[in-house]
Amino acid sequence: MSCARFDNELMTPKLKKQLYYDMLRIRRIEEAIAERYHEQKMRCPVHLCIGQEAIAVGVCANLTKEDYVMSTHRSHGHYLAKGGQLKAMLAEIYGKGTGCSMGKGGSMHLVDLNVGFLGATPIVGNIIPIAVGTAFGTSMKGENKISVVFMGDAATEEGVFSESLNFASLKKLPVIFVCENNFFSVYSPLSVRQPKERDNLSLVNSLGIKGDKGNGNDVLEVFELTKKAVVNIRKGKGPYYLEFETYRWREHCGPNFDNNIGYRTEAEYLEWHKRCPVKCFEGMLEKRGILSDIEIGEMTKRIDTEIEEAFHFAISSPFPSEEELYQHLYAN
């Protein structure tokens, strides 16, 4: 599998540049977090999505601000791709009162209601029915919104995955299930978790749900398959399942590389590194004359300035007060 299998002649150069910019931005934000993590000031687990940016960007580029997205422990990319505020995300990771969850949630519980990012949870699979529920709720209310839920490959092993798909299909709900298959659940490979005969597409098809599998490192392919799903749903044809293969570059949780500890090989990592979603797309755009080195330089500078400002905001923000500990137990 290559990293950018095909170009899309119909897509405007402007949109292509936007997709590139969004991926580059997520990449650089995640790298900046990794770089500063050793300072021990971001005192919560972080699950970086470096290597997996194309899925977040390709999916969210098909959604409107009114559509809903929900995600997992590895949600930074999804939050940012949906338009979540960077400052509020970093402040949340720093445990500050200005964080998107006011310091109550941390990296694993991001939220930005202004852009329809309804939340993320790290209990594997337990956000899936929440997304089916928001789709159920919006359809009960007669709203024309799509709910999208990101999950990892291990979430498809949870009982609640089948339960949620079953109901989504029964009620023909406007929900897209996006599985990011990065082959590992922490250190446990697919081979110890799923029989080799297992095929999630056949599985969801048997529940009456359409689906596609694709290259998760190719942002155009992700974009096109998601577009197909969105069109299907807007026509009222019910839920859709998308599964994309990709690879997490860093350790499951934290800023480091861990190819040396023995659960995967350096060679395997390098193979995926060659298929870097950002670099491959960059190469293609340059070759087509859509993107120049100068533009890349300008984009990088703009992103880095934004990142600097956001870190400054997060670091200089006050911690929540003791009084705030007791706030938000109950809603009034």
């Binding site: 809903y68 964080g99 998107c100 969850s101 006011m102 310091g103 109550k104 949630g105 519980h109 939220v111 209601l113 309804l118 939340g119 949870t121 209990i123 337990n126 899936i128 029915p129 929440i130 997304a131 089916v132 529920g133 928001t134 789709a135 159920f136 709720g137 919006t138 009960m140 209310k141 709910s147 009982g159 609640v160 089948s162 339960e163 949620s164 079953n166 109901f167 029964l170 706030q327 938000h328 137990l329 109950y330 809603a331 009034n332």
Partner: protein
């Protein structure tokens, strides 16, 4: 309770049904789902006729997927609906603990108050007719232990209606626990919609010698015991908790300050049960008022046995409450024969209307 002959009397089950119907009529965002909700038996009569009134979109049966469907209800609540979920036995709902504890209870807090989860989860508990280890647990202390949940256990038909209305109108997840043996009891219930505030206990009966704190079905047993104790010169005050979380500590403490003695009667297992919380509260806040060590009467630390013979030994009854209260005053035990307590029906059913199966 003084009776107004003009007041209407209905069963507890009817009161639950009426609260549901009136809340659905008042607020289009309220819907109810659960296994068997629209079926001919209507969850022991508590959902009968709702589908005809409100249609099958708002009165739903569901796939047998307790955890997934709870998550779906939570998701719908996040976007503005007010789901009521029913479980015919608390034991089935254990499959949904992840969604209730990890998601519903935390959601408002962990996202900094940005979203709310107004969901009511009706759990039926009960006993008798050989329901056994997986059909008759009482797990209120588990739910009361989870920050973010509210837990109510109505005893009277009046409270069943008023507390359910409050639960549905509340913006938080509320665990509403109804004891199967209360469904057939009759009490005064106004026809109009009204609410009973969450978090307020009720003094069922005033007395001066000992406070009995109880909830749900065990309040009924406590009231029977109080009649006999009163005749023996022990004046009992009964506090019906109504809500376990948030707990009305003030009403409990005020009562014990008056009587100086405390007995907690809880229909769940002993160790780490809710009775321990009541006793801890009183010893922390009103230790100097206590004239004797507080007592608790609970189920033994055992799974529920199925055989009626074993169940007879398992459940505390009126006589056990009487004797535990008497022991506080160092009075000798009395027997059912002495007191004239007779059982005109087997002990595994609440009244003659129960002929099984149920």
């Amino acid at each position: 309770m003084t009776k107004n002959p003009m007041e209407r009397e209905i069963t507890y089950a009817k009161a639950v049904l009426e609260a549901t119907a009136q809340c659905m009529a008042e607020d289009a965002s309220v819907y109810i789902m659960g296994l068997g909700v629209p079926d001919p038996k209507g969850v022991f009569g508590t959902t009968l006729g709702l589908k005809d009134k409100f249609g099958d979109r708002r009165v739903m049966d569901m796939p047998v997927s307790e955890n997934g469907m709870t998550g779906i209800a939570i998701g719908s609540a996040i976007v503005g609906l007010r789901p009521i979920m029913t479980h015919q036995r608390v034991d089935f709902m254990l499959l949904a603990l992840d969604q209730i504890i990890n998601n519903a209870a935390n959601w408002h807090y962990m996202f900094g108050g940005k979203m709310k989860v107004p969901i009511t989860i009706r759990l039926l508990i009960g006993r008798g007719w050989g329901q056994g280890p997986q059909h008759s647990k009482s797990l209120q202390s588990i739910f009361a232990h989870i920050p973010g949940l509210k837990v109510v256990m109505p005893f009277t038909p009046y409270d069943a209606k008023g507390l359910l209305v409050s639960a549905i109108r509340d913006d938080n997840p509320v665990i509403y626990i109804e004891h199967r043996w209360l469904h057939n009891i009759i009490g005064e219930v106004p026809e109009n919609i009204y609410s009973v505030p969450l978090g307020k206990a009720r003094i069922v009966k005033e007395g001066k010698d000992i406070t009995i704190v109880s909830s749900s079905y065990m309040v009924l047993e406590s009231m029977k015991a109080a009649d006999y104790l009163d005749k023996d010169g022990i004046s009992v005050e009964i506090v019906d908790l109504r809500t376990l979380q948030p707990l009305d500590r003030e009403s409990i403490i005020n009562s014990v300050k008056k009587t100086g003695h405390l007995l907690v009667v809880d229909g769940a297992c002993h160790t780490a049960g809710f009775a321990a919380e009541i006793i801890a509260t009183v010893t922390e806040k009103a230790f100097s008022c206590l004239k004797s060590s507080p007592q608790r009467l609970t189920l033994p630390d055992l799974p529920t046995p199925t055989s009626p013979a074993l169940a007879n030994f398992y459940y505390p009854r009126t006589i056990n409450i009487i004797n535990t209260a008497r022991s506080v005053f160092r009075l000798p035990e009395r027997t059912e024969e002495e007191l004239g307590i007779t059982h005109d029906q087997p002990l595994d059913v609440p009244d003659k209307s129960f002929t099984g199966p149920f």
